[in-house]
C-alpha cells in the first residue's frame, strides 16, 4: 500500500515536470503557422525543422556559443574557488574579524547600487568591452559564501584539528581536508553559477552590446526573438502585412527555449552524482 501511494505521487510529480518540457519540444518541432491553431500537446502535428533552421541561420550564434561556454566554465571555476576560500576563512572560529566580514557580505545581499552607478563603476574600472566583465563582478556572491560556510560549519572541526596536528598548514587544510568534504555543496553551487552564467544576457546587452566578438548565445537568441516579434515601430503598415506571413513567434520561442536548455540538461547528470551527503559519516569517533 505504501509502495502504491509512493509510486502514484512520484508519477504525478514526474508527469507534472516532464509534460511542459515535452510540450515545448513538440511546439518547437511544429509548423509555425499551424501552431496558432493551438491544441498541440505531446506530438507535433505538422513536423518541421524550419524553426531550428531559422535560428541556426544566424552566423553570430557560433561566436556567441563560444563566449557563453567560456564564461560558464571560467565563471564557475573562479566563482567556486573564491566563494569556498572565503567561506572557509569565515568558518574558522579563530578568525577575529569574521563578524565584521560576515556583516559586510550580508549587506551586499540586501543593498545594491542600482544600474546606473554600477555602470559608471564598471566604466571607471575599465571593464566595459572586455571579457572580464562577465566573470569578475559576480565572482563572489554572498549567498553562495553563506551556503558553503554553513556546510563547513556542519563538518566536524576535529578533522581540521587532527590535520593540523599532522603538520598541515591552513592552505593544506583547506585544499586537502575541507574541499574534498565539500563536494556536495560545491556541486550545488557550481550548478547555480553555471546556470546563472549560461542564462545571463543582460550584462552583454549593457556592457558589450557593440562588440560582436564578445557576444553571448543568449544575447543573440534574444535578438532573434525580437525579429519575430510583431509591431516593431520600424516597419510601416504596408511592410507589416508582409512580415505577418513569416514565422510565428510562438514556435521560434519554443525552439529557442530548447536550444538554451539542452546544454544544461547535458551537464546536469555529471554533477548529480555529487549531490550526496553523508560522506563524513563515521569520520570521527565520538
Amino acid at each position: 500500500m505504501f509502495n502504491f501511494i509512493n509510486y502514484f505521487v512520484l508519477t504525478v510529480i514526474v508527469v507534472a515536470t516532464v509534460y511542459p518540457f515535452l510540450n515545448v519540444l513538440a511546439i518547437s518541432l511544429n509548423d509555425s503557422t499551424d501552431t496558432v491553431r493551438g491544441g498541440i500537446y505531446l506530438w507535433p502535428r505538422q513536423f518541421t525543422l524550419k524553426n531550428y533552421e531559422t535560428i541556426f541561420g544566424y552566423s553570430t550564434l557560433i561566436t556567441g556559443f563560444k563566449i557563453s561556454v567560456l564564461r560558464t566554465v571560467i565563471g564557475t571555476v573562479l566563482g567556486l574557488i573564491s566563494a569556498s576560500m572565503l567561506a572557509y576563512t569565515l568558518s574558522r572560529p579563530d578568525f577575529r574579524s569574521r563578524r565584521f566580514v560576515s556583516v559586510f557580505l550580508a549587506l551586499t545581499m540586501y543593498f545594491s547600487g542600482g544600474m546606473v552607478p554600477v555602470y559608471i563603476l564598471m566604466r571607471d574600472l575599465h571593464l566595459i568591452g572586455t571579457f572580464a566583465i562577465y566573470v569578475l563582478p559576480g565572482i563572489v556572491s554572498a549567498f553562495n559564501v553563506f551556503v558553503i560556510r554553513s556546510f563547513i560549519d556542519g563538518l566536524p572541526y576535529a578533522l581540521q584539528e587532527s590535520a593540523k596536528l599532522d603538520g598541515a598548514n591552513d592552505f593544506q587544510i583547506y585544499y586537502k581536508v575541507v574541499l574534498p568534504l565539500c563536494k556536495p555543496v560545491l556541486a550545488t553551487i557550481a550548478l547555480f553559477l553555471a546556470v546563472g552564467q549560461w542564462n545571463s544576457w543582460f550584462d552583454t546587452y549593457l556592457y558589450n552590446g557593440n562588440k560582436p566578438s564578445l557576444t553571448t548565445l543568449q544575447y543573440e537568441l534574444m535578438k532573434i526573438l525580437d525579429s519575430t516579434q510583431q509591431g516593431s515601430a520600424m516597419v510601416n503598415s504596408n511592410d507589416l502585412a508582409k512580415l505577418m506571413q513569416q514565422v510565428s513567434p510562438e514556435s521560434i520561442k519554443m525552439a529557442i527555449t530548447i536550444v538554451v536548455t539542452v546544454p544544461i540538461l547535458v551537464v546536469y547528470p555529471f554533477l548529480q552524482r555529487f549531490f550526496v551527503g553523508g560522506m563524513t559519516l563515521g569520520a570521527v569517533k565520538a
Partner: protein
C-alpha cells in the same frame, strides 16, 4: 616559509574581499556623469561657410566611422558588410558601427546609462527617450547644419519644417524624422470592424455601416448556422488580454464615434481641449452596445478571461464570425486559415460607426511626425555626419536603400524599375537572409525618406510597396467580396480627404516624466483595465450606474489635472506646427 594561521587567515579573507570589490555597486561613484563629456568640437560653427551646395559632388569621402545606437531591434544588421552597405561606404566614405537595442526595450535602459555616464555614440535613434538625452545636453541642434549641408533633406521636409522642431519652448531641431515615410499613403484599410467573408456571401453582401447593421449580420448568420465544423459558432470575439484591450475594445470606442486615434485621449479639433476619450458621451453609447452584445449572447463570454493564444486559436478554428480589431493583431490566426485553404473564413473590413451621423476617422493622417535620428555632442565630425544623412536622403540614396543595386536587385525595363523573379522570391520566402546579404531595408531609418506611394522624377515609386501589390495579394474570396461592394480595396469603403491632424501623432509627444503626470496616468489606466470588463459584463440595468462610477473614479484619480497638462502640451504643439495663435 611556513604558513601559520595568524598570517594566512587575513590573507585568505583579503583574497575574497578583493574579488568581491567588483560586485559591490554602492561605492558612491555615481556623480561622475558630467566629468567625461567628450572633448569633441562644440558644434558646427567651424569655418566652411561656403558649403558645397550640391553636396553629392563635392562631399569629402575619406573613410570615417560613426558609432550609432538604435532603440529598435535590427537583428539582421550585418556591420555594413551587405551589398547596399558596401555601396554606401564607397559613395560616402562612411562606415556605421551600430548597436541596436534588444527585447523591445525601446532603448530605455541603454539611453538612461548614456545620459548618466556621458558616453554617447555619434549618431542615435533614440525614439521616445530623446528627451532624456536633450536634458543631459547631449544632442546637437541641427538647424544650421541642415541649412548649410543638407539640400536633399530640406527638399523632403518642404512644408513640414515646423514639424521637425522639438517643442514650442525649445524650437531647436534635435532629430530628423526618419521613422516613417514622408507623404506615405495607406494602400488598404486593415482595421475597422471585421466580418467573415462567408457571412457576407451568404447574406448577399449586405450594407454594413452602423453597429446595428453589424449586429444584425452576426445574429442572422449565427441563427442559421449555430455550429461550425461541429463546434459552436462564435458571433463576436474580442481580446481582453493585457494591452490588447486597447486594440479591440477601447480604441474602437472612439473610432466608432467619429474620433481619430489619439491614444487614450480625445482632442477637440476646434478648441484643442484634450480629455480621456472615455468621457465623451458618445462612447458611453458604444460601451452600452458592447454590454448589450454580451447580454444577448453575441459577444463571446470568455473575452476577459482568455489569453492571447486562446483568442488566436479560436480565430484560427474559423468559427468566429466577427472581430473588432486590426489585421496585424490577429494576422497569425488569419495566416493559419489561409494555409488551411479556408479563405472564406478570413475577414473583410468595414468602417462601422454608431450611427450615420459619424464619420470613421481611423485613416486620418497625422502628417510628418516621426521619431528620428540625432547627432550627439560626441560626434567627431557633425558636418560629415549630416552630409552622410543627406546623401541617404537623395534620390540616389533612397533608391539604393529601398530597391538595392541596379542590375543586381532590380532592372530598369522601359523606364520602370522591376524586381527580377528570383530576387523577389528570396525576398518573400527567405527574408532574414535576404536582408542580411543585400542590406535592403536596413538603412531606412537613418535618414528622412519618402513613403509608400510617392513617385520619384523618373515616375517610379521610391519604395517597393505599391497599390497593385495589395490587390494581387487578395484571395479569390476577398476579391469577390470587394467586387460586390464595388471596391478595389477595403480602403475604398472608408471616407477619404480627411484633413491632416494639426497636432501630429500624439504618441510621439514628450509628456512630463517627473511629477504627478505619470502617476495619474498609470492610475487611470488601472481604473480602465478594471472597470471596462465590469461595465461590459454588467446586467443592462446596472450599466449606467457602473459607467458613472467609472468616470467618477477617473476624476478621483486626478484625471482632470492630467488632462489640463495634456491640453497645454497639445496646444503648444499646434502653435509650433501651424504657427496659429491659440489661447
Amino acid at each position: 616559509m611556513k604558513w601559520n594561521s595568524k598570517k594566512a587567515l587575513p590573507l585568505l579573507t583579503l583574497t575574497g574581499v578583493v574579488l568581491l570589490a567588483g560586485c559591490g555597486g554602492n561605492n558612491g561613484n555615481d556623480n561622475a556623469a558630467d566629468s567625461s563629456s567628450s572633448p569633441a568640437s562644440a558644434g558646427p560653427t567651424s569655418s566652411s561657410a561656403a558649403a558645397p551646395s550640391d553636396s553629392g559632388t563635392k562631399m569629402d569621402t575619406t573613410p570615417i566611422t560613426f558609432t550609432f545606437f538604435g532603440a529598435d531591434a535590427s537583428p539582421n544588421w550585418n556591420n555594413m558588410q551587405d551589398e547596399v552597405g558596401k555601396v554606401i561606404t564607397e559613395k560616402t566614405g562612411v562606415t556605421i558601427n551600430a548597436e541596436y537595442d534588444v527585447a523591445s526595450g525601446g532603448g530605455q535602459s541603454k539611453i538612461a546609462l548614456m545620459a548618466a555616464s556621458g558616453q554617447y555614440p555619434d549618431l542615435i535613434f533614440a525614439k521616445g527617450e530623446l528627451g532624456k538625452l536633450i536634458d543631459a545636453g547631449a544632442i546637437l541642434d541641427l538647424t544650421d547644419l541642415i541649412d548649410k549641408y543638407a539640400p536633399h533633406i530640406k527638399a523632403i521636409m518642404k512644408g513640414s519644417e515646423n514639424r521637425m522642431k522639438y517643442s514650442y519652448d525649445d524650437q531647436a531641431i534635435y532629430s530628423l524624422p526618419t521613422n516613417g515615410g514622408v507623404g506615405s499613403q495607406y494602400f488598404d484599410a486593415t482595421g475597422g470592424f471585421e466580418v467573415q467573408l462567408r457571412v457576407l456571401k451568404e447574406l448577399g453582401y449586405p450594407q454594413i455601416k452602423t453597429v446595428q447593421d453589424y449586429e444584425n449580420v452576426l445574429s442572422e448568420y449565427v441563427k442559421k448556422h449555430p455550429t461550425t465544423d461541429g463546434q459552436p459558432t462564435i458571433p463576436l470575439l474580442l481580446n481582453g488580454d493585457g494591452w490588447k484591450r486597447m486594440i479591440t475594445i477601447t480604441n474602437p470606442a472612439f473610432l466608432a464615434t467619429g474620433a481619430p486615434d489619439d491614444g487614450e485621449y480625445y482632442v477637440d479639433p476646434q478648441t484643442y481641449q484634450a480629455e480621456l476619450h472615455y468621457k465623451r458621451p458618445e462612447e458611453r453609447d458604444y460601451f452600452k452596445w458592447l454590454n448589450h452584445m454580451y447580454n444577448v449572447g453575441l459577444l463571446d463570454k470568455d473575452t476577459f478571461v482568455e489569453k492571447d493564444d486562446q483568442y488566436q486559436a479560436k480565430i484560427a478554428s474559423g468559427r468566429v464570425l466577427g472581430l473588432i480589431s486590426q489585421e496585424w493583431e490577429y494576422g497569425n490566426a488569419e495566416n493559419a486559415l489561409k494555409s488551411a485553404g479556408k479563405d472564406d473564413r478570413t475577414y473583410g473590413h468595414f468602417p462601422v460607426t454608431m450611427s450615420d451621423q459619424y464619420q470613421e476617422k481611423e485613416l486620418q493622417s497625422a502628417g510628418v511626425d516621426f521619431w528620428g535620428i540625432s547627432i550627439t555632442k560626441a560626434c567627431k565630425d557633425p558636418v560629415r555626419a549630416i552630409q552622410f544623412l543627406d546623401w541617404l536622403a537623395s534620390d540616389e540614396g533612397q533608391v539604393l536603400i529601398n530597391w538595392g543595386i541596379e542590375g543586381k536587385h532590380y532592372n530598369v525595363v522601359d523606364g520602370k524599375r522591376v524586381i527580377p523573379e528570383d530576387v523577389l522570391n528570396a525576398k518573400v520566402n527567405d527574408n532574414a537572409n535576404f536582408t542580411k546579404t543585400t542590406g535592403i531595408g536596413l538603412y531606412t531609418a537613418f535618414a528622412p525618406h519618402y513613403g509608400d506611394g510617392v513617385k520619384d522624377p523618373t515616375g517610379n515609386y521610391y519604395t517597393t510597396n505599391f497599390p497593385e501589390q495589395i490587390q494581387a495579394s487578395y484571395s479569390d474570396a476577398e476579391k469577390e467580396a470587394l467586387k460586390a461592394y464595388n471596391a478595389t480595396t477595403w480602403k475604398d469603403l472608408w471616407p477619404s480627404d480627411l484633413p491632416v491632424k494639426e497636432w501630429g501623432a500624439l504618441y510621439n509627444m514628450q509628456v512630463p516624466t517627473d511629477g504627478d503626470y505619470q502617476v495619474i496616468y498609470q492610475k487611470t489606466q488601472e481604473i480602465v483595465d478594471k472597470s471596462i470588463p465590469k461595465i461590459i459584463l454588467a446586467k443592462p440595468e446596472d450599466f449606467d450606474k457602473l459607467y458613472d462610477q467609472f468616470l467618477a473614479d477617473l476624476n478621483k484619480a486626478g484625471a482632470e489635472k492630467m488632462e489640463a497638462t495634456y491640453t497645454e502640451l497639445v496646444k503648444n504643439r499646434v502653435k509650433l506646427f501651424t504657427g496659429k495663435d491659440i489661447q
